[in-house]
Amino acid sequence: MEATIPVLILAMPLLMFLFLGLFGKFLSPRVSGIIGTAGMGVVLLMCYYTAYVYFFSGSPEFINAEGNRLQAIICNVDWLQFTDNLIIRLGFLLDPISAMMLVVISTISFMVHLYSNGYMRDHHGVYERGFQRFYAFLALFSFSMLGLVVATNIFQMYIFWELVGASSYLLIGFYFTKPSAVAASKKAFIVTRFADLGFLIGILVLSYYTGTFNFTDMTSVPVAGMNDVYAVSAETATGVFNIFQSKAAAGFMGCSVMTWALVLIFMGGMGKSAMMPLHIWLPDAMEGPTPVSALIHAATMVVAGVYLVARLFPLFLVNAEFGGYALDVVTWVGAITAAYAAMVACTQLDIKRVLAFSTISQIAFMMVSLGVSREEFHNLGYMASMFHLFTHAMFKALLFLGAGALIHAVGSNDYTDMHGLRKHMPITHITFLIGCLSIAGIIPFSGFFSKDEILSSCFGNSIFAYVWMSAVAALTAFYMFRLYFLIFWWKEHKVHEGHHAPKDQPWTMTLPLIILAVVATLCGLIPFGNYVTWDGHPYDFMAHFNWTIAGISLAVAVIAILVAARMYKTENPLPAKMRQAMPRLWDWCRNRFYFDELYMFITHKIIFDKICRPIAWFDRHIIDGTMDGLATITNKASYAIRGLQSGNTQNYVWVYLIGALALGGVTVAVIFLFC
């Protein structure tokens, strides 16, 4: 494939960012919105074209004679050359998951660009302050995220990883006059940066032992008992092999180096994907504008952690084969996070918070799915995880954009201000309902298929994982329909005096909703296994479809929805009774299990008070004291001898003469004594 279009995919959003960022203030908001949306539309077309060529062209570059999809490096430029071996390259890697991500990112990003034209104005059509800046940041984010998924090597991924973090920071703090938004943006940045520390150490460890940064070299595995993951020549297929051949004995604290490296890299993924205990930034990140939440904090950036694990999945799998714990860590973190986030989501008031916790829970589903994926079950989990990533991006973006439409119409994030909106906003109502049905896993909506794949792979791995994740899936259906019924039913909407009744939003906002609703309904029918599997070999999951598991999960979801309908469809005292029945649990869920307080305690009471203060004291008194002492001595000594500089030339000559004579005398004496 020619490199022109792939390079343009990255260059377009970057140029748009520079153009809108530098010249945006000379443009009217309307024009810059149109430019931003049109530019993203071009990127969308180019991404679709690239994915189409990758999946359907049948070129030998992308698919071999046996029908396995290959990894193809479209271009690779040396960017920084430190030594002969340590070269950091920037390039464009096409393989099933990156091509799939190109589609996801460009679709959601375009929808969000379109939607923001309507969302970022008030009811009178006046644009938000900094509208051009908003589009510039959106373009920057799109650039970073596209660069992340097509990274050819782990260092490029790390660079773009930080760039998405930075653009997320900028967009969360878009309303920079609002203190809570500023605090949220800082929190997001610091927490993810902290996680990235682990990621960086993991990269260094991994690349030290494998001797390469390149994904293609790292993940090609000529180890006995394993398939050749991707067709790579023998001399480049050194990565994992090196770890096991030469450094097998190396270990630290009971785990092999490889386990440590992978767990540390996974820590980076935990930060970005808001896995417990590094999830605390994501609910606060909802302070950003809602389209940003849809794009960054639901569909694309937060799944970067899943993508990272998927990208390095062959390494994780080899690690598991050799008895390492890295995949178990992924599973456990995912399983605990999924349950935690689902429980918390049942009690939140702010609709965006509910959706945020739901996102955390769904990403945890993907993590679990990767974690339980094993060779014996054709690595169904890997495919399921990517499938769920795809469908989740669509329906969660839909839900967020629907929530944005509600917030825009009502002017509040709180669902207690919303009740009974179904008659006022029919389009939003229907699309939101489709999103809820999809996430709850009702046939034939997309979430049903992807969630069923995940549950099947859990079932294949262990019955415990299956039961656990099914329970979480039931909770998911419950809290989503709780939200749905509380927003659209419960009681009649009361319009306050002097306010307009809420109504459907302009076409720029409803069109993305409709498109995404259609996509969320239909994209579950894509034969995903034909396109994305861990080894590129097509896997027809419909042929292996387990109708028992599907039936059970469907029944569970329907029961959960019925329970939610019974409790929240009309105004009744049942929810309040339930809350009183288990006050302790309710309090804990409502306060997110006091994680923020725990973090405050650890950072303030322990780190600040017990560690930072003594260090600050040492700095002020010992280090600064030494420097101050030196300065004082110099100062005093200078005052003492300043009389020497009298301004009287002949005095200087006296001093000089005496000094010269003394020096001469000393020299002569030394010569006489020692020669």
């Binding site: 009389g643 009298s646 301004g647 009287n648 000559v653 006296w654 003469l657």
Partner: protein
């Protein structure tokens, strides 16, 4: 180094030493800047003489010392020009060339 050579060289070095000491004395005791400049020239010439003497008696086949002296004379001329320019400017400012009165540059 033979006896005859030492005597011959010392016959030249003694006047040079005398000139140098006169220069130092004049430099330290005179108040008039022109007189100080003259004392300075005296010291420089004493040094130049030493160069010539040592070159002549220690390395008779070479000319390094002679050339150095020529350079020193040339530079001394330039230096004198500068010194006189400074003195004239100092006189313009303070109507005085007494070195004791030019002591503004101090701590």
């Amino acid at each position: 180094m033979n006896f005859e050579f030492e005597w011959n060289s010392i016959m030249f070095l003694i006047p040079s030493l005398f000139m140098f000491c006169c220069g130092v004395y004049g430099f330290l005791t005179r108040r008039n800047m022109i007189a100080i400049l003259i004392s300075l020239e005296l010291m420089l010439n004493a040094v130049d003489m030493n160069f010539v003497v040592f070159n002549r008696f220690l390395y008779p086949g070479q000319l390094d010392g002679m050339f150095f002296t020529l350079f020193a004379i040339a530079i001394a001329a330039a230096e004198t020009a500068i010194a006189i320019a400074i003195i004239i400017n100092a006189f313009r400012i303070s109507r005085d060339i007494d070195v004791k009165d030019l002591s503004k540059m101090k701590f």
